[in-house]
Amino acid sequence: MKRILVGIKRVVDYNVRIRVKPDGSGVVTDGVKMSINPFDEIALEEAIRIKEKGGAEEIVAVTIGPQDTQQQLRTALAMGADRAILVESAAAVEPLDAAHVFLKLAEREQPFLVILGKQAIDDDNNQTGQMLAALWNRPQATFASKIELAGDKASVTREVDAGLETIEVDLPAVVTTDLRLNEPRYVKLPDIMKAKKKPLETLALSAIGVEPRQRVKAVRFEPPPQRQKGVMVKSAQELAEALKKKGLVA
């Protein structure tokens, strides 16, 4: 079956104002709204569009996290994933271990495409897709803004510092999404009801043979240094004079 694997990470919602705990042990996540990482929503949307155009037959949404992460998987199923896999882990896993989990699932599910978000908006690591591609020994096309499939190849346009780069990769491959790849659809109520009947499998990390290790320890969390509020000027004239005085412009 022509299958796409999509990664879904549960993160603090995009609109939540992040606060660091006073004791520096982490950021406040209790009672905070959790959502699918926005880049992962884009990944899922792209998979759905490929399937709608006949380019794939099945979409499997995968997450690694605590039981609560089922909520995000149900949302993914409502959006259009066909089935879901929750790899259960109470503690957060590092990108390299997440990549090992996806490798195991890629070996089991034999997808022709794995689409992941380019980064999660919590730890901002931007690593898992590249690491998976390395371990799987397959191509990677990161920061994608356009994916075109043709037979056993894909042409991917990437958002790079110089502009837009296009590469061609042999399938199977790992693609990570950038913001402009697509605009994810809204989930409709009937779809949420239907999603309840879709299969959701829970696997223990040990069952797929990955033993996570903590390689990077978070010693301390701090709020970022704040910029001092400056002065308001009344006219272009006053602004120009201030900038000249500081030697910032001629």
Binding site: V12, I18, V20, P95, L96, I121, D122, D124, N125, Q127, T128, Q130, M131, L132, A134, L135, N137, P139, Q140, A141, T142, F143, E159, V160, D161, A162, G163, L164, E165, T166, E168, V169, D170, D178, L179, R180, R215, V216, K217, V219, R220, F221, E222, P223, P224, R227, Q228, G230, V231, M232, V233, S235, A236, Q237, E238, L239, A242, L243, L248, A250
Partner: protein, 314 residues
């Protein structure tokens, strides 16, 4: 002692300034011995530039026709093959480094520290998370090889005056051919590069059209400034994607940043918080950009910009 390998970013002819910033980051590790590796089809010109960077003792070249374009899948096994001899492997936190370094880390079976903004010790680094809304101090065990990307906006470029030796390193056989470069569409511009410019003037959605963006270009040329844009302006099609400043675009640290018609979403502020001086021009006095601006001016940008153009510049 720390032996640090820095992966050079370049376009085949010129060393990208991000490499000199990685050198400064590496220099923050006491007693660091720094090697820069240049992978290219013809590495001569770039290797010579890297050899002049202060405190770099050795430049290694990986020369192969396969290295004509920077493809992570092709470069990673080459970098990993020489990385065995080093305690640290650094690359810039640009799209080049972000693409390549995690692939190198995975081949070395080690974790990566992304976006290093400060070095506390050879095993301890500070980095932003949650779009810069928190800073975490991350530590790896002593004796672990460290792969990291360096947040270029946090470091000045290393100076010149060095004279490193240049050596060719063996290129592994059987490089992957499953990934092929097709094309790159770079907006050619005579203006300074956004990432390294001393002055940047950025426009937001309030500009209203791609046509109106031209008044920014006109002031930018007067000031010798690079032009940037907010995500809203890029999404609206007023400016190309490579001009986007912010969390998912470019993180910059110019001496002067002028934000025109940009409200100042947190994702945008993340990209400019290291700017020396921030100027905000916006017609909404409540815009969050004024909270971080050193100079704020409330008013209509279509009147203010032409006035500024008259008042400023050579």
């Amino acid at each position: 002692m720390s032996k640090i390998l820095i992966v050079a970013e370049h376009d085949g002819a010129t060393l990208n300034p991000s490499t000199a910033k990685c050198v400064t980051c590496a220099n923050a590790i006491a007693g660091a011995e720094i090697t820069v590796v240049v992978a290219a089809a013809d590495a001569k010109a770039v290797a010579a530039q890297a050899a002049r960077l202060q405190n770099v003792t050795k430049v290694l070249t990986l020369e192969s026709p396969a290295n004509e374009h920077a493809l992570a899948a092709v470069l990673a096994p080459q970098i990993a093959s020489i990385a065995q001899a080093y305690t640290h492997v650094f690359g810039p936190s640009t799209t080049f480094g972000k693409d390549l370094m995690p692939r190198v880390a995975a081949l070395l079976d080690t974790a990566q520290i992304s976006d290093v903004m400060a070095v506390e010790s050879p095993t301890r680094f500070r980095r932003p998370i949650y779009a810069g809304n928190a800073i975490v101090t991350a530590e790896v065990d002593a004796g672990t090889r460290v792969v990291a990307t360096v947040r270029t906006a946090s470091f000045e470029a290393a100076g010149e005056g060095g004279s490193a030796t240049i050596e060719a390193a063996p290129v592994p056989a059987d490089l992957p051919t499953h990934t092929r470069f097709v094309s790159v569409s770079a907006a050619k511009s005579d203006r300074p590069d956004l990432q390294t410019a001393k002055r940047v003037i950025s426009g937001g959605r309030a500009l209203g059209s791609a046509e109106n963006f031209k008044i920014l270009y006109s002031l930018a040329d007067k000031l010798g400034a690079a032009v940037g844009a907010s995500r809203a302006a890029v999404d609206a099609g007023y400016a190309p994607n490579d001009l986007q400043v912010g969390q998912t675009g470019k993180i910059i640290a110019p001496d002067l940043y002028i934000a025109v018609g940009i409200s100042g979403a947190i994702q945008h502020l993340t990209g400019i918080k290291d700017a020396r001086t921030i100027v905000a021009i916006n017609k909404d006095p409540e815009a969050p950009i004024f909270e971080v601006a050193d100079y704020g001016l409330v008013g209509d940008l279509f009147t203010i910009l032409p006035e500024l153009e008259q008042l400023l510049g050579k």
